[in-house]
């Protein structure tokens, strides 16, 4: 669960998953691609990409964790 966007069903990137968690909360059950997330919360998509960039620059560990999660999920065909 959580490999695809719940709206457009596009495969998610680690960035998509991190920003979803950062915006909707770490306990969210629903993941969005960044474009659909911006529609969902009614904000400018560029601002979301800037936020992703900021988090990366600050050394947020979440990207690595989400990358690992997605790899594992892909391997087991989840």
């Amino acid at each position: 669960m959580g490999r695809k966007c719940v709206v457009c069903e596009k495969y998610l990137t680690p960035e998509d998953r991190v920003i979803t968690k950062k915006i909707l909360g770490f306990d969210t059950q629903f993941f969005y691609c960044t474009d659909c997330l911006s529609t969902h919360i009614d904000c400018n998509v560029t601002d979301l990409y800037l936020k992703i960039e900021q988090l990366k620059q600050e050394g947020c560990f979440c990207f690595e964790e989400e990358r690992a999660y997605l790899l594992e999920a892909a391997m087991y065909g989840e």
Binding site: L24, F26, D27, H40, I41, F61
Partner: protein, 381 residues
Amino acid sequence: MENKPFIYLDNAATTPIRSEALEAMMPYLSHAFANPSSSHSFGYEAKRAINNARETIAEIIGAEPCEVYFTSGGTEANNTALCIGAAASDKKRIITSSAEHKSVLKTVESLGEKGRDCVYLTPESSAAISIRALEEKLADDTALVSLMQVNNETGALSPIKELCAKAKNVGALFHTDSIQAVGHIPINVKELGIDMLSSSAHKFGGPKGVGFLYIKKGTPVTPLIFGGGQEMGVRAGTENVAAIVGMSRALKIATSNMNEELIHQEKLEKTFLSMLNKEKVAYTLNGGEERRCGIISISFEKENAERIMNRLDLMGIYISTGAACDSRKFEVSHVLRSIGKEKAHGTVRISLGTETTESDVKTAALAISKIVNDNHIHTHN
């Protein structure tokens, strides 16, 4: 940075520099650039600006000019005060609280590694320190007590005068981190009876990178920075003339407008909280009864502070959290942890300033209520 409109509600982190302070600084950043230690009259002009600033600040806090030492900010002031306090006697014990700023906690920790007996008081649920908590830990071998006047995360006020009196009963030196207090509440160091007080300019409309440390006359001082004889031999290095002048100007204005500012911020706080109530947002206000106006620490049950902060950020509303994200877990701030806030994960700090308007707090309250009450946000429509 893009010139987007925004609402700034993080004044406890830093305040915008006052235009008057900036104006006062400009000559020393341009044509009046001389080194205050130079013997010529050009240098003396800079020296005189520093002396005037020292006199202004001393008068505001009820000190003598020779008791005011300029530093690079609050962190340096705290570090210096604690090292001076520890070196002033052979006594072993240093008392502080677990709700202090890291610049105090880390210095105390370092002193502990050098053989000092470091004692950490547990704050009340508001983050204030009770007289009883200090009494229980005071002993004849107490060299120094260091407790903050206004907690930076909750705004809680500690009874510094009474705490200091208790410390004096055992002959200990008393230092207070007044970084969130100076320029916001009236301070008279003689009335408080304290030996040392730390302050930082950018918390009251001054520039960043400058602060001051009050050290009561007669306190044995040891320098942390060696070199020239600046700052009465306590802190070597060419003075940051412009920043010192800007700090003094900002403090003068902040203290002159203190009552109006208090009324302004009280009104804004009331508006903000009543808007949350009107929108039926469930929250807890932290900081207790005795709190510095303008620092609003609120906890939302079953919420995630980082989520709230990020959503507001995207709306151009800037606040702060008491918790920082560390991977999937949140690292709750040591202050909220130390006061045992179960709802710490959902705690945010909204701090008001001179430039905050009623419209700002109304917009912020509505935005917060939307985020907190928006149950569908977690679910797919």
